[in-house]
């Protein structure tokens, strides 16, 4: 497969975003069911996520990105701006959905509890929105790189 160093880096970023997000949300949900935030275990989880991100970045870049990416040219910048635009649209839509959900959820049963969306749940939903928009940015860039 003919793949540039820049495209390879985006694949690596995509993999890291995916792995770290899945690890964080899986463990977070297992620990607190997303409703608590300030606990000792949560602190440990955040520490583990940071360590995992660093280790995964070093390992993946060492294994797959040996050559330095060439300087960005106009096509790279065009593709990057498309990725940013798609990520922006998705983040806007997700934030609007979240705002709507928070407004509507007052008094409605949410995640099996009778309270409205609390701070920690809102924070996790925002994190999911950020993660999705980052994935959309990287996927968009890869789509346009692969298309030629």
């Amino acid at each position: 497969m003919d793949i540039s160093a820049r495209e390879k880096n985006i694949w690596i970023e995509l993999a890291i975003t995916g792995v770290v997000s899945v690890y964080y949300f899986y463990n977070n949900f297992r620990l607190s069911g997303w409703t608590e935030i300030a606990s000792y275990e949560m602190g440990l989880l955040v520490r583990d996520v940071i360590i995992l991100s660093i280790v995964a970045s070093i390992a993946l870049y060492a294994l797959f990105a040996r050559e330095n990416p060439e300087q960005k040219d106009e096509r790279d910048r065009a593709i990057e701006s498309r990725g940013n635009a798609f990520a922006y649209y998705s983040l806007t839509v997700l934030c609007c959905l979240l705002i709507g959900t928070i407004m509507l959820s007052e008094g409605i049963v949410v995640l099996g509890k009778t309270s409205a969306i609390n701070g920690p749940v809102a924070m996790h939903l925002l994190l999911i929105a950020l993660m999705i928009s980052a994935l959309i940015k990287q996927a968009t860039q890869l789509f346009f790189y692969r298309r030629g």
Partner: protein, 71 residues
């Protein structure tokens, strides 16, 4: 960057200029080889500046490299 109406003769001109490689042309005009590949496949329309730089490398007028053919 959709399939566009701007066509070009970059590939032909490369061969007419001592079978210049895509990498060599990319280096001369300051872009990546993938960008030259995209240009030759007419999947990417270059900026005016890049178009002029390519024409300059082949020492031909711009319209000999790029042609615009509307439907």
């Amino acid at each position: 960057m959709a399939n566009n109406q701007i066509e070009n003769k970059i590939r032909q001109l490369r061969f007419e200029h001592g079978q210049m490689t895509q990498s060599a042309l990319a280096t001369k005009v300051g872009v990546s080889r993938q960008t030259i590949l995209s240009l030759e496949a007419c999947r990417y329309s270059p900026s005016l500046e890049l178009a002029f730089r390519i024409a300059q490398v082949f020492q031909v007028p711009l319209e000999e490299v790029f042609t615009y053919s509307p439907d």
